[in-house]
């Protein structure tokens, strides 16, 4: 029995987004995937079992057909007279179909479960790595967690089962042929190793060509997009007719280059097909010649003829799934690269009361892309006072605050909390939760929980009354937004339904309402105009009046003017 080989199509081989990184040779199965992802492990075990079942079915089918055929030709016993054998044949074929059905259905479910599990773990782990690990990967990480990890599906559904079939069906069929007719087994055993040999040779021939193709594709895209971007201009000049010839020329040039690489790439599929069919042909001729001289029985001859193509079938299927395997393995290693990174350890000591404690940075330096940001930062946040943190952009103001919060481990120095009696504790030894529960932090881009204006505000302090809500809203200028939209306006997810300025006011109101003794504001006036800036300044005064500690990262001098203390950080190289 033969199955069509679905070759990798040119869309994959010529994909502009195809990985340009040099392909490292990887094992076809990633041990970490097997070890750590239960769905993948079970899929693998099940595939081995189903591969064995399929092998048995293939061998039984061949033997029964050979037996029935030989009996018919030699003894003139029609198959109708051997109902038991017929039943075995039908059963073997049916069980094989059933095994394929089960394999495919469970492979899909296993892929779904594995993707689901890995995505969940990547997102959770990346979140726990803190701001720097996430930011360092940026777009790569989001691409991996959203679409990249989906490459596991073709790998698990298309590649892995065929790989395991080549480890079960191929040797078992070869073994059966060896028992029936050793000479045929020798022919097969000699041609089989030629497959990897020729694959390596063809691989050497095509090396560098796919990189060139991808580079070509990139330049085609740049030029094509340049023309598309320029279309309004061309239209305004009355020259929109004509560039389509350039588009066609560019395309034709790329096609020629792509066909050039494919000429060699398709040699590998030619070699596979050639070896598979040549092996069958050699076996058929060898068997025929021995039958003519009466050196061989008919039944084993027929069985060998049925089994010979089956040796090669899984190999051909594995070859056709090459891209599924490289893409899938790349996704797996990218996933484990994230998962293997150690998150900063949480401390165990409960944080002291921030109403009476001082926070301090002692010679803190954090490595950045250009050197150190901040470099040797020193600052002290005394309870009940307003500290303005200044510094040029890129000096590491936000990072300094993140060190203070225990979100980033500095390479040098430390963040400390000093209680009223003078005991200093490294922030890293504190349970972060107990620290964070005592602070309200407003990052530059505030994040809001989903819900209405009212529910978002109430969630910052349980049991807050309407009067307090209104007072807080008036203090931050949120009342204007409420007057326009109402208390029950739905903000959508993460406050995406409102403008950045409105979001900032809402987040400020939450900070005012929250009972946290420490309020940290990261450039709170960045998105606000002059009038709104005054609101923030008044707000800081009010927070000070309530006896709260305020750290404000300030770009504008008016924020510095209201502060009790000013600290500045600098980058270093």
């Amino acid at each position: 029995m033969t199955t069509a080989t679905a070759e990798p199509t040119m869309a994959r081989s010529a994909d502009p987004a195809a990985d340009p990184a040099p392909r490292r040779s990887r094992a076809p199965l990633d041990p970490r995937l097997v070890r750590e992802v239960r769905a993948a492990r079970r899929h693998l075990a099940r595939s081995v079992v189903l591969g064995l079942v399929q092998s048995a079915c293939i061998i039984v089918t061949a033997l029964v057909i050979a037996r029935l055929g030989a009996q018919l030709l030699t003894e003139r016993d029609v198959p109708q007279d051997a109902p038991a054998l017929l039943l075995v044949l039908v059963l073997a074929l049916a069980v094989r179909a059933g095994a394929v059905l089960l394999e495919e259905a469970t492979a899909h479910r296993a892929a779904t479960a594995a993707i689901s599990e890995l995505r969940g773990r990547i997102v959770r782990h990346a979140a726990s790595l803190g701001p720097r690990a996430g930011a360092g990967r940026g777009a790569d990480l989001t691409a991996l967690a959203t679409t990249g990890i989906e490459n596991l599906r073709p790998y698990l559904v298309g590649y892995v089962p065929q790989l395991l079939l080549s480890l079960t069906v191929t040797p078992l069929c070869l073994l059966t042929i060896g028992l029936l007719d050793p000479l045929s087994a020798v022919i097969a055993a000699v041609t089989l190793p030629l497959v990897p040999l020729f694959m390596v040779l063809v691989g050497k021939l095509t090396v560098g060509r796919s990189e060139k193709l991808i580079a070509d594709m990139r330049s085609l895209w740049t030029q094509l997009l340049d023309l598309v971007d320029g279309l309004p201009t061309l239209r305004a000049l009355g020259r929109e007719r004509g560039p389509e010839r350039t588009v066609r020329e560019l395309g034709d040039r790329h096609r020629a280059s792509a066909m050039g690489s494919l000429t060699f790439a398709f040699l590998s599929s030619m070699v596979l097909e050639l070896l598979a069919t040549l092996c069958v042909a050699l076996i058929a001729v060898s068997i025929g010649m021995r039958l003519v001289y009466g050196d061989m029985e008919l039944a084993p001859a027929l069985a060998v003829l049925v089994l010979a193509p089956e040796i090669y079938q899984p190999l051909r299927n594995v070859g056709s799934q090459y891209h599924a395997s490289t893409d899938g393995l790349a996704a797996v290693s990218a996933a484990f690269e994230v998962l293997d990174e150690q998150p900063p350890a949480d401390g165990t000591l409960p944080a002291p009361d921030l109403r009476t404690s001082t926070l301090a940075l002692r010679g803190v330096s954090v490595r950045s892309r250009e050197g150190w940001a901040p470099h040797a930062a020193e600052l002290t946040v005394r309870p009940g006072r307003v500290l303005a943190l200044t510094g040029a952009s890129g000096a590491g103001k936000t990072t300094a605050v993140q060190v203070l919060l225990g979100l980033v481990d500095p390479e040098q120095g430390k963040a400390e909390i000093i209680t009223a009696d003078g005991t200093a504790t490294d922030v890293r030894e504190l349970s972060r939760r107990s620290l964070w529960d005592q602070m309200a932090w407003l990052p530059q881009r505030p994040v809001l929980p989903p819900g209405t204006i009212r529910s978002v505000l109430v969630s910052s302090r349980a049991g807050v009354g309407q009067a307090e809500l209104e007072a807080a809203a008036a203090a931050t200028g949120l009342d204007a937004v409420i007057a326009e939209r109402g208390w029950d306006a739905d903000l959508g997810r993460g406050g995406h339904g409102i403008s950045l300025g409105e979001r900032q006011r809402l987040a400020l109101t939450r900070a005012v309402l929250s009972p946290a003794p420490l309020v940290i504001l990261d450039e709170p006036t960045a998105h606000l105009d002059g009038a709104a800036e005054q609101v923030v300044l008044d707000l800081i005064e009010e927070l000070r009046g309530q006896g709260r500690t305020v750290v404000v990262i300030a770009h504008r001098s008016r924020l510095v003017d209201v502060a009790d203390d000013v600290a500045s950080v600098e980058a270093g190289s």
Binding site: H108, L227, L262, A281, G288, M289, L291, W436
Partner: protein, 567 residues
């Protein structure tokens, strides 16, 4: 052939037909690819048949010479399959790549013909995936769906034609099995593909959005103690997506198991037929051998059908997206060239009558405007940002259809003139004009292919770029980066202005030509443009409309149109 826009109501099926038509696949090449594919599968099929014949015939111990033909055939077929496979791959991919080139060209032509703001509204990423992934998907349509579909039909007939002379009963069994494999498997595969496509569009979008939110804001979520809640929500969304994806598992499995299942009918039917035939003496041993073994090798073409059906589902979705790109609701019908384009006259009058203009009917930017500009007239347009200055200019240039009223060029409604005719008389300089990733010279010659170097130099001098060009080591041959990223804002602007000047023509419309220039230079340029007698930059007979915010630089006797801000 062009990729003509479809109405939004047109069914997806016709989108696919249009997209496939836009591939402009040459029949002869497609036929060659199909023939090569048939030869590939035919080689394997013939190899199975001849070797079955050879083995069973050999068992009857005929003189060895009787087997020579069969032996030679087996050896030849053992080689031919690999060679044909390579040929088929090459021919199929060549056809598909040619198709993708034609499709992209047609898409580009269709985009160029659109007069609405589709291009400006489209995000670059979307455009990239339309012209890239979706066009590629239609190339795959040829490789994975069209060719294998045709091959399956041909090979099905070859199989039946092989069995027919041997045994009618076996032929009926094969026919039944082939039909079952060719219908059940593709239908199931199509369903599986549509279910997963749908899941990707609906539930996975939710998963991706939640993933992005968590990754973007992980730190804030953590400090505020809301990370767990967000992760729980991601988990719930993922579970919903998983359930949707898993609905595709069963149909996909059915598609995969269909061919092994139909083998039961084919193998047993042929086997039983062989029994009766041998006893009746109706067939030779070699023919019995074929009936015994060939059914196992008769379904290779059919096994490609599930993938073909799945590809069909994906191609349909891609074609639908392409249809929206070139044809959505805002597409203007291609205007019939009403009047033959006259030779570029040296002068033209420009009038606006009760003109209301805007990008969408909900938000008109300019209302009921009347303008009368005889040849050689000069007009400065001022107003706060958002008051519709650029919109007015685009409408006067005929790039944007008026919402009400009309624009007259040389006394005729601009809507009744062929676009080429309008463009040849009205030159528009837009501040967002595109600088192409080619040489400085070609960036001016984009206006007129026959421009000489002297004319190019003259234009650059007129806009004050001659000093800059002199500093460039490669002069006019200097390559500019994509969209002018390698030159400064002021140089870019003056280059675009030089383009407009080179182009000339009776009507010149300029949008903020002096922005990004230092005030001295800018004001001098503005005066040169607006003062009919003051410079060689623009002939006195040319009608010039300039949008500017440099009110103080406008010459005293230039009429000014002041647009009001409105919300």
């Amino acid at each position: 052939m062009t990729f003509t826009p479809t109405t939004p109501a047109a069914p997806a099926r016709s989108d696919l037909r249009q997209a496939v038509a836009a591939l402009e696949i040459p029949r002869a090449r497609l036929l060659a690819a199909v023939l090569a594919a048939c030869a590939t599968l035919g080689s394997a099929f013939a190899l199975a048949a001849v070797s079955a014949y050879l083995v069973t015939r050999a068992w009857t111990m005929p003189p060895v010479l009787d087997l020579t033909v069969a032996v030679v055939m087996v050896r030849a077929l053992g080689v031919s399959r690999g060679v044909f496979r390579w040929l088929e791959r090459m021919l199929t991919h060549d056809v598909a790549l040619r198709g993708v080139v034609s499709l992209r060209t047609n898409l580009f032509t269709a985009l160029a013909a659109r007069t609405d703001d589709t291009l400006t509204r489209l995000r670059r990423g979307d455009l990239l995936s339309r012209l890239g992934d979706d066009a590629q998907e239609l190339g795959d349509h040829v490789i994975t769906a069209v060719v294998p579909g045709l091959v399956a039909i041909v090979m099905g007939m070859v199989v039946l034609a092989t069995f027919a002379p041997l045994s009618p009963a076996a032929t009926v069994a094969m026919l039944g099995a082939l039909l079952l494999a060719s219908v059940l498997a593709p239908v199931a595969a199509h369903r599986a593909a549509r279910l997963s496509e749908q899941a990707v569009l609906t539930t996975r979008a939710g998963v991706s959005a939640q993933t992005l939110e968590i990754l973007d804001d992980a730190t804030s979520l953590q400090v505020e103690g809301r990370l767990e809640a967000a992760l729980t929500q991601l988990h719930a969304r993922q579970a919903a997506h998983d359930a949707a994806m898993d609905r595709a598992a069963l149909p996909a499995a059915v598609a995969a198991a269909a061919v092994p299942l139909t083998l039961i009918l084919a193998v047993t039917g042929s086997l039983l037929a062989a029994g009766g035939l041998w006893l009746d003496g109706g067939a030779s041993a070699g023919q019995i051998g074929i009936l015994l073994l060939l059914p196992l090798s008769s379904f290779e073409a059919a096994t490609a059908l599930p993938a073909a059906a799945a590809q069909h589902a994906r191609s349909t979705a891609a074609a639908q997206r392409l249809g929206q790109l070139v044809g959505g609701a805002g597409a203007a019908p291609a205007p019939a060239p009403a009047a033959p384009a006259p030779q570029r006259p040296g002068t033209a009058s420009l009038r606006a009558v009760g003109l209301t203009a805007g990008w969408s009917a909900d938000a008109p930017r300019v209302r009921s405007l009347d303008l009368d500009l005889p040849p050689g007239a000069r007009l400065a347009v001022v107003g706060p940002s958002g008051s519709g200055k650029s919109t007015l200019l685009a409408t006067l240039a005929g790039l944007l259809d008026p919402l009400a009223g009309r624009v007259e060029l040389g006394g005729r409604d601009i809507a009744s003139l062929a676009p080429q005719d309008v463009r040849s008389r009205v030159t528009m300089f837009a501040e967002d004009g595109h600088v192409f990733a080619t040489t400085l010279r070609e960036n001016l010659r984009v206006v007129r292919g026959d421009l000489t170097d002297a004319e190019v130099q003259e234009a650059l001098r007129a806009v004050g770029l001659e000093d800059w060009v002199a500093t460039l080591p490669r002069g006019l041959d200097t390559l500019l980066g994509p969209d002018g990223t390698t030159i400064s804002g002021g140089e870019r602007r003056r280059l675009l202005l030089a383009r407009a000047v080179v182009r000339g023509g009776p009507v010149l419309l300029l949008d903020e030509p002096t922005e990004h220039l230092d005030p001295g230079r800018g004001d001098a340029l503005l005066r040169a443009l607006l003062d009919p007698d003051g410079s060689t930059l623009v002939p006195a007979t040319t009608t010039v409309v300039v949008v500017t915010h440099r009110l103080e630089a406008i010459p005293a006797d230039t009429p000014i149109l002041c647009l009001q801000e409105h919300r």
